[in-house]
């Protein structure tokens, strides 16, 4: 256990706290920017997939399938090396933001699609019958009902996005994982494996745990509310009560 109980190793980590904070800052910056991009892509893809127009649906499907079925690491390397060898290098962080945003965008798109599809068809028809146009229909009727369904899985995607920033390591990023690794292998700081990994893991945990717990609880409470409102389930409960009586 290299350095787990060594006071010096912990002291080295403490003395280099600024590089860890810098790594965290890079990770947060990448994750946040990628999240904004992912939201934008997700909204567009989700609306395209539920638009009912064949060509739009097809484009959204192809995008989602292609992105979801290839590894993020591959997409990032593809983008990074293609740009680098074409002489258009954007830098690791910006390349990472694009790759992560495009990747998470596909997942967000699926979340948006599923949430919009969870709204009963009658709602669309009723809105149309009232003379609402597409924007009004979405803005007043459909989205207010689908956003609560969307939010918990979106929070889960944020957690994944945050963890996925670790992929930047392969192209030599300066995110939290990469900083930790260069810290433990560095000439002057090397060897303090256990403390550095514990600190790095703890930072990830502190950010991700509250979010993923929130998502799980939220989802459970939504399900419970939906269960209460579900007429079929109410009927089952009624019968059960009658039988008990």
């Amino acid at each position: 256990m290299s350095g787990l109980f060594s006071w010096d190793a912990w002291a080295t980590v403490w003395n280099h706290r600024e590089s860890f904070l810098l790594g965290l800052g890079n990770t947060l910056l990448t994750a946040f920017s990628a999240l904004v991009l992912a939201f934008a892509i997700g909204a567009v893809i989700g609306l395209m997939a539920t638009s009912g127009k064949k060509p739009l649906k097809f484009i959204a499907r192809v995008y989602v399938e292609f992105i979801q079925n290839t590894p993020l690491l591959l997409q990032l390397c593809f983008l990074y090396y293609a740009l680098a060898f074409a002489g258009l290098s954007l830098g690791v962080i910006r390349t990472g933001i694009i790759a992560l945003g495009v990747y998470t965008g596909a997942y967000m798109g699926e979340v948006v699609r599923a949430a919009i599809e969870s709204v009963p068809k009658g709602q669309f028809e009723a809105a149309q019958a009232q003379g609402f146009n597409y924007l009004q229909r979405m803005g007043y009727i459909i989205l207010p009902q689908s956003i609560p369904v969307m939010l918990p899985p979106m929070v889960n995607q944020v957690v994944n996005l945050f963890k996925n920033t670790s992929c930047l390591y392969i192209v030599g990023g300066a995110d939290l994982i990469s900083v930790t690794y260069s810290f433990v292998t560095g000439a002057s700081t090397g060897g303090a494996y256990a403390p550095a990994y514990i600190v790095c893991g703890a930072i990830f945990f502190v950010v991700c745990f509250p979010l993923s717990t929130l998502a799980t609880r939220w989802e459970a409470s939504l399900k419970e509310r939906k269960g209460k409102a579900d007429p079929a389930l109410r009927a089952v409960k009624r019968t059960a009560l009658k039988e008990a009586a």
């Binding site: 079925n69 590894p71 591959l74 593809f78 293609a82 392969i170 494996y193 990994y197 893991g201 991700c208």
Partner: protein, 257 residues
């Protein structure tokens, strides 16, 4: 366009095809192992977290909850690094095997272990979802038939839970195949790493002496196609399964009535 032609000629080199094919095989083997062993460990964790709620067994429930949350909320790459440094590798694996050097075998063992540890936490949550879907009455019915707790779990609860989660588990295989590319960070064993390895030596393979954009396109494009074929096939199976289940679910109440 001559650079593009020479980039394609990389793939036609005699050794390259086999090299990549072995990489695909390793990707598949690592992922399948990761899911199967992850399922075993994950099931134990899920059982402990779901049912160990009273008496001294509570500690077991807490421990498995802690394990699951710890691994779920930290990146896989961190666990690869941790295992590479701290995990001992038994002598059996630390030798030449499957065309890998002993150093690569050691790394493969450690990274695969990291994958199993990481995967088990994700799969535990999937299994827990399956367990929660099994009606409580099934327990009571099992006990009433004279089964003990282990028998009830093994013969009645788990089979139903597994049946519920087959599609989710298959999607986890897709995720695992994608995650296995993280191994490229520590060793050149599986597809992703081998593609990168080829790219770094592309100058000698394409006969031009330099690495061009077209090499990047061809090599990573090939990897994309391979990953896509494997994963898309799996995701089509998942979707077909879910559609069939949905249908069964729609018709079931009618049958009951």
């Amino acid at each position: 366009m001559s650079t593009l032609a020479s980039s394609f000629s990389i793939l036609a080199q005699p050794g390259v095809f086999v090299y990549l094919l072995r990489g695909v095989a390793f990707t598949c083997i690592i992922s399948v192992l990761g899911v199967i062993l992850g399922l075993i460990l994950g099931s134990l964790l899920a059982l402990a977290r779901t049912y160990c709620k009273k008496g001294p067994a509570r500690i077991l429930g807490w421990l498995s909850a802690a394990y699951i949350e710890l691994f779920r909320n930290t990146p896989y790459l961190l666990w690869i690094f941790v295992c590479v440094v701290f995990c001992p590798c038994p002598a059996f694996f630390a030798r030449k095997m499957f065309g890998l050097t002993s150093v690569e075998m050691k790394l493969l063992f450690k990274a695969a272990l990291a994958l199993i540890l990481f995967n088990s936490s994700v799969i535990a949550e999937i299994v827990r979802g399956g367990l929660n879907g099994v009606a409580k009455g099934q327990f009571e019915a099992g006990y009433a038939q004279g089964f003990n707790t282990a028998e009830v779990l093994l013969y009645i609860i788990l089979p139903q839970a597994y049946r519920n989660i087959v599609p989710t588990l298959l999607s986890q295989v897709i995720t695992t195949i994608k995650d296995s590319s993280y191994l490229a960070n520590v060793a050149t064993i599986e597809l992703m790493a081998r593609i990168r390895q080829l790219l770094s030596a592309a100058g000698t393979y394409n006969g031009l002496g330099t690495v061009n954009v077209s090499d990047v396109m061809v090599l990573f494009g090939t990897a994309c196609v391979i990953y896509f074929i494997i994963n898309f096939t799996l995701s089509c199976i998942v979707r077909a399964m879910q559609a069939r289940r949905k249908k069964a679910l729609v018709f079931a109440p009618a049958k009951a009535a």
